[in-house]
Amino acid sequence: GIQVEQSPPDLILQEGANSTLRCNFSDSVNNLQWFHQNPWGQLINLFYIPSGTKQNGRLSATTVATERYSLLYISSSQTTDSGVYFCAVEHWGGGSQGNLIFGKGTKLSVKP
């Protein structure tokens, strides 16, 4: 099955700093999403981005499907950005539709 690797596993930032999170995947995908899980366990969908670039406020994401990676950019980080960021992919072949494969996540801590 598809492998999803995220880096770095941990990241500590000072408030106001920028960061880039990376997601590598081992096969072609039909679906790629970025999620943020806050310290209370809530999982929030940030982007649906199987290819191309999207922006939402201080967050943006780029997926280069041909090279099998995606990047999540966080600018001017805030303490509320703390939590775990997950990349998840889906490949519709081989009976895998509906099965999002999650990476292990990047744990972000933003210090005031």
Binding site: Q33, Q42, L43, I44, N45, A88, Q97, G98, N99, L100
Partner: protein, 108 residues
């Protein structure tokens, strides 16, 4: 518009018991996905229901089962509970994968 709702928030059971978790998707969404987030194992796909049918299931034993009702709400049943079933169980609604707040299941 109400989001995905899950109940109960917390559930405490003992080994060998059965647990029932519930999920209501966003109004108009016909698909429900169940995921397990166990400590050290990450988020793993459990089940996908759409239009009342089970469409796909992850690599979990048959004691994990569920169903989807005509109003598209869903139940996840876990029989013969084991200690390693302790986890956060998350339900998501349709293609956008909008998740509920989860049910935290603890097995004593």
């Amino acid at each position: 518009e109400a989001g995905v709702t899950q109940s109960p928030t917390h559930l405490i059971k003992t080994r060998g018991q059965q647990a029932t978790l519930r999920c209501s998707p966003i109004s108009g969404h016909t698909s429900v996905y169940w995921y397990q987030q166990a400590l050290g194992l990450g988020l793993q796909f459990l089940l996908w229901y759409d239009e009342g049918e089970e469409r796909n299931r992850g690599n979990f034993p048959p004691r994990f089962s569920g169903r989807q009702f005509p109003n598209y709400s869903s139940e996840l049943n876990v029989n013969a509970l084991e200690l390693e079933d302790s986890a956060l169980y998350l339900c998501a609604s349709s293609f956008g994968m909008l998740f509920g707040d989860g049910t935290r299941l603890s097995i004593l």
